[in-house]
Symmetry: C2
Subunit: 483 residues, 2 copies
């Protein structure tokens, strides 16, 4: 269990430390209410032309720098949510700003081709470099534009492979061809993807059928009768709840087995399973390496495929490039999806999941070469500045600090969890959680909600120990006020 990397319970004092991004401010500085008058005015303006129910505040992305989001009211906020976990290098990183001064890269970005049909001559080298640097033991990549699309498209690879295995050398029948076009079996067969309670895989209708966090994401939309398995809900601290948590693993795995059987009986077999290595928005819910090893065995026994959704966990914030590396699986998963910190989206997959015919998994753009250039730069900076190591170091410090705080404020804070800087904790109830979130914002710290009463940390990879100390200090102040 990875939480065991954190053993020292020492609270580090704020000390000087040079920032990985030059010209970062020394700390947050809040001048107005947050959102302030400028943000409120801008929200009213934008509201004339689009729905703005979700807008928290307006950023000044000319002034924002490193880990600091400067908002429209000139408030300087320590951003530990980093645009819903999408900014690996924070704001205005010098390496990214200079990227498109290179005329060749600029042209690659501006002349965005339909990559599936007319890729640029630089694409093979670019893709090969990506695969050789970051592929999670899977040989093939397929680029998309956002996480939901990555998940939906990989479902198609899964369905293709599942049916191919069933069909053998036979081609499609005429009946299959005709019925596919009109959404009917056998061409559009009764197959399903198994997902988990608390999982979030995106908002397009297929991805949404495997998403089970908040009702508001799903209510009023027709869906698919796909199986939803129980996901372990651990108690914390882990070392004091080992027995109970093993029971949670067992309960979940038994449910998965049961659902495989139920849906087979329903003649809607499970072709694939999609799961986040740590559920993100659903509550930073972890499961043990052993759990995932057993899960993979069940999936293999049922001739189905395992897809890890690493859209939130991938790209370094767990201290490994891919979170599922922590699971020591005997063989790789069948596919791993990515987005967010990768600038572009897509997935890695096994040879078995490769389509056998053109235009089965396809769309107009098939990714975006301009975003791939950004991803290359991100990976380069990650290597040069050893950012995975930084995440582990800072993550340990953050977790230690949070554990100290949950001991000090045990009546309102508990369940510190996660790995690297991919951390979360619970507040006693939803209302108080929202109060804590708002008070943090007023003191210049941006966090995100997760689960029913959780707060999640999603800092950039350039978040350092001195930032952690500032955060822990402010969190202590807020918890004191809320006690």
């Amino acid at each position: 269990m990875w939480s065991k990397i954190v053993t020292r319970r020492v609270f580090f004092k704020v000390r000087f430390c040079s920032s990985l991004v030059p010209e970062e401010p020394e700390g947050p500085c809040v001048l107005t209410d947050v959102p302030g008058p400028c943000s409120r005015k801008l929200k009213k303006d934008l509201g004339k032309d689009q729905y703005t129910g979700e807008v928290t505040l307006f950023g000044n992305y000319q002034k924002s720098i490193g880990n600091y989001l400067v908002d429209a009211d000139d408030n300087v906020l320590l951003d530990m949510f980093s645009q819903i976990a999408t900014l690996p290098l924070g704001y205005n990183h010098p390496q990214l700003l200079k990227l498109f001064q290179d005329d060749k890269k600029l042209k690659t970005m501006i002349n965005r081709p339909a990559l599936g049909v007319f890729p640029g001559e630089d694409q093979p080298k670019r893709i090969h470099s990506l695969v050789s640097q970051i592929a999670p033991c899977l040989p093939k990549i397929n680029l998309m534009m956002c996480g939901a699309c990555a998940n939906e498209q990989v479902f198609k690879n899964v369905f293709i492979a599942y049916q191919r295995k069933k069909r053998g050398q036979e081609g499609f029948t005429d009946e299959e061809k005709t019925t596919a076009v009109i959404n009917q079996p056998p061409g559009a067969p009764n197959l399903c993807i198994l997902s988990f309670c608390g999982g979030l895989h995106g908002r397009a209708l297929g991805a949404l059928a495997s998403t089970h966090t908040k009702y508001i994401y799903k209510i009023d939309y027709p869906s698919l009768d796909w199986p939803i398995a129980y996901f372990p809900r651990y108690r914390y601290p882990l070392d004091e709840n080992e027995r109970e948590n093993i029971e949670e693993d067992k309960k979940s795995l038994a449910h998965v087995e049961e659902l495989f059987a139920t849906y087979k009986k329903k003649e809607t077999p499970v072709a694939g399973v999609i799961v986040e290595p740590i559920q993100g928005e659903g509550g930073n819910n972890e499961a043990s390496a052993l759990y995932f090893q057993e899960l993979q065995k069940i999936i293999k026994r049922n001739n189905a495929y395992l897809v890890f959704n690493e859209i939130q966990t991938g790209g370094g914030s767990t201290g490994k490039f891919w979170c599922h590396e922590y699971f020591d699986l005997p063989v790789p998963p069948d596919a791993v999806t990515f987005s967010k910190k990768f600038a572009v989206a897509g997935y890695f997959h096994s040879d078995e999941l490769t389509p056998d015919k053109p235009f089965r998994v396809f769309n107009t753009w098939m990714g975006d070469p301009g975003k791939v250039i950004i991803l290359e730069a991100i990976i380069k900076v990650m290597r040069e500045q050893d950012l995975l190591d930084n995440v582990l170091k800072v993550g340990a410090r953050l977790k230690c600090g949070l554990v100290e705080l949950e001991e000090e404020f045990c009546e309102i804070m508990d369940s510190v969890r996660g790995v690297g800087t991919f951390l979360a904790f619970n507040i006693a109830n939803e209302e108080l959680r929202d109060t804590v979130l708002h008070k943090l914002l007023r003191k210049g710290v941006v966090l995100g909600r997760c689960g029913e009463s959780g707060l999640r940390l999603r800092p950039a990879l350039i978040f350092q120990e001195h930032h952690a100390d500032i955060f822990l200090d402010i969190l202590r102040q807020v918890l004191k006020q809320c006690k």
Copy 2:
């Protein structure tokens, strides 16, 4: 019927004309087979890391300019498919190349926020400018990343509005909240979107359930039991087949009426209808203004919503900014989706389709400010160079020329159709169509397939009369060879 704009049957000779994009070559120049040895080698290389079944050739996007795609073998091709209809200004347009030399714009592009939650302070002005310049009589915009997502998300707006109308002032019931999370009615109600045979709305599972062109796009994937209506199949020339084509309209409209009734009976009412003003990949299939007026009436009578998918038709290639402007609808449609030539994707919608609560139609990025900057520049060039007028002028010339050719080669070419430069024609059969396509490519012209035996023209908006003449001349040569 718009085809009537084209009355003069004159064939214009190639003559000197200055290009809208400086430094364009004088014409195509093919040195090798297409794809040539470099493209073939690159395909092999790329194939090690990703599936490449769809790759036609590799582009050299450093050298490509205006309407000319230079490929990896230095072949200079007159590109009339423009990356599946996505390039309004062709390759390396000087106005686009200089865009990100502006430091402010560069920072806006690099610091891509989660636009739904933390938009930039420049976003309201930017969005307002967009809406005021291009909105199709609809007050609200919602940005997405690709066409499939735009269509899927607008389905959600439709479902929300449909259920709200039914529910009235009542809030969600507890049963609805609980069942929504597990994909079951009443929270995930039985509702559907009606689409048309020959329609293409994207490859995510919801968009795919409303897509009905080729079986290969859909086979082996589970789908939704959604109604699929017959779409008119006109005979050409239109003025000689008026009676038959009116019958086609009637047949389609009667089927739509019937499906509304059938699915109401099935207790899966039709909440919305999605339709392309001209079916693109399905065959450049048109229907009359009267047809769409009647369709809108049926939809309104059934309390459902009309969504125009203008992903391919929008942005100028029909000679109007939105193709449905040709239909003189008494009231605007409920939503219009866009992507491709817009660089970013999304949709315009009525106030009635606006969500009532946050996070119902949402995702992490909600578009991309860098792409909006590109779209702004595209619109500016379109105005400055009067490109809609150019499209009408060039479209008329192209259509005249094609009509001349279909008369000359009536045994192998027919059904010239479309509006502006959004044109197509049929070749006698699929095999010969593919031969014509390949021979055109070998002579330096890139076209696209559509329907069963069609070829579609999708040039950029900067495609001019002298390009049209080059194309018509080469097409005549090829048809002569195939006769």
